[in-house]
Amino acid sequence: MRIFLVGNPNVGKSVLFRRLTGMYAIASNYPGTSVELTTGRLRVGKGLAEVTDLPGTYSLEPTSEAEKVTAKMLNGLGSDDIVVNVLDSTNLERSLGLTLELVKLRRPMVIALNLWDEAAHTGVKIDVKLLEEALGLPCVPLVALTGEGVKALVDSLPHARASEREFDFAGRWDEVGRIVKRVQVITHSHHTLLERLGDASLRPFTGSVIALGVLGMSFEAIRLIGEGLIRWILEPLFKGIWSPLMLRVSDLLGGNGFLHSLLIGDLVDGGIDYRQSFGLLTTGLFVPFAAVLPYVFAFYLVLSLLEDCGYLPRLAVIADRFMHTVGLHGTAIVPMLLGLGCNVPGALAGRIMESPRERFIAMTLMATAVPCMAQVAMIIALAGPYGASALALIFGTLAALWFVLGMILKRTMNGEGMELLLDVPPYRVPFLRGLAQKLWMRLVSFLMEAIPFVLVGVLLVNLFYYLKVIDAVGRVTFPVIVSLLGLPPESAGALVVGFLRKDVAVGMLIPLHLSFRQTIVASVVLAIYFPCVATFAVIVKELGILGTSKATAIMVATVLTVGGSLNLILRLAGY
């Protein structure tokens, strides 16, 4: 038996899925998080059922990529499959449009009336008995977020049946209107003060001010939390507990030799310097856990908060006009923000863009000009000693590049720009357990992705030095690295490793003691030149070989132009 969760975007399907299967699925306040099909298991009576969370859709006549997936899956239903149609009780009318389409499939179905508490709160009363009668289907009110009513839903699954009601399909919205009139009573529909205040964040002027404030505060919070965790917790832990242990290991290994330089690396003044030693057990663990994880944690904490209180769709509305200057619309702010955490989910989120043209622009822009949090953290470690002006130069250059490249792509890519069409959900007080779960899941997936690649990266660095590969690469790339970009020949190794992990690559530059100019150029070049292998894999999957080649060509051309001119300008300015 298979169970399919179907419903409009943003009605809580993913939350319900998590409740049913006990599996983790990221639930967020914007559409597109479940484009990838998530599948889990659920015990029904004595048997096990496979549960699939289908992408949100308003209709079975698909208008976007995600909706096509849903329509295709539903056309291939087997005889003992059950459709669970998840409805938004606060918005019965819109939800029922899809329900009537589903009824036409004549498959066993159950209706889940989600957000039942919020509906009651806003004065919407639905007569479940009358609705069951009107649709000819079992209906179960529930609150997926807290789990209320979910058991009743599971118990109702064996009673799932195909409706025998006939609906006039062409006039289905009139049918919906008639049903809603019969089953729903709205007792008070006055608009709360909170609602009115919430609208301020949607107005062009007040909204822009609020958006700038929210973003400014977010970045400040990320910086404070990340910096604080490193300085007060992780560095003391590594220095106080891990270092003495590593020095013992160093003694046991005899203080030098291949194994010593592989595991511990170079000792600096007889001690371990986590930024320069470059052994698997020293720098290899310090980079993911102490240098990068604190910022990644801080970033996802803030992002998850913004998501769960419902601010992101408002940001998309405010950013819409601005995003049109780079050929996208407001929704594209989501892949950009996610990319700032890690380019992999950023590229995945690029799929919420409706047309191939928009997907190409969004992914290329994100992969080229949006550095991930791991890289940002290491750039802060590398360029921080040169002060705020160095960091401002690096991130200012990337921001300007994002804008200019976007305008060029908009003008050169054929096709008409798509338009924003977005449901703006009400503000919600974040449900803390859900928030903690989501944060935990994101951190785990970051560590699972980062640690193997960081270790392989550090291993490669050691092998390269041991086999003198870096010298050879340095000689071959001399015209670009040294003549054009003005970097020391050893930095060629960082460009090679950067394909694996950008944070390790930036870390490799720290022992080179680069000048102010070289630090700026190298940081910017590493951010642009190529996405890391994990992001690259996603982009190949989404854009195809041809699209990826185009995107890659754009990145290479961009890095040579931007890196070369940055080097020249800084030289002329006397750095």
Binding site: V317, D320, E419, L420, L421
Partner: protein, 74 residues
């Protein structure tokens, strides 16, 4: 139609795909809407239908024909 005004949708001009997308999300002839925001620089228009708020890109929004009824005191 200005921000703060209410009206009834009477026609959606434009192609079948625009119509279908707007219809599915709840913007249909006969539906009463309130326009919540103006868009001085061609930004999106935010409307309210019941408790639901929708943001619609400027171009698409200009295809929704509305018979304005009255200004809401607010």
């Amino acid at each position: 139609m200005r921000a703060g005004e209410q009206g009834t949708v009477f026609e959606i001009r434009g192609g079948i795909s625009v119509k279908r997308r707007l219809e599915a999300i709840g913007v249909r002839p006969g539906v009463t809407i309130e326009k919540l925001t103006d868009s001085p620089f061609g930004g999106p228009v935010v409307i309210r239908i019941g408790h639901m708020r929708l943001a619609i890109g400027y171009g698409m929004a200009s295809k929704v024909m509305v018979a304005a009824e009255k200004a809401v005191a607010s």
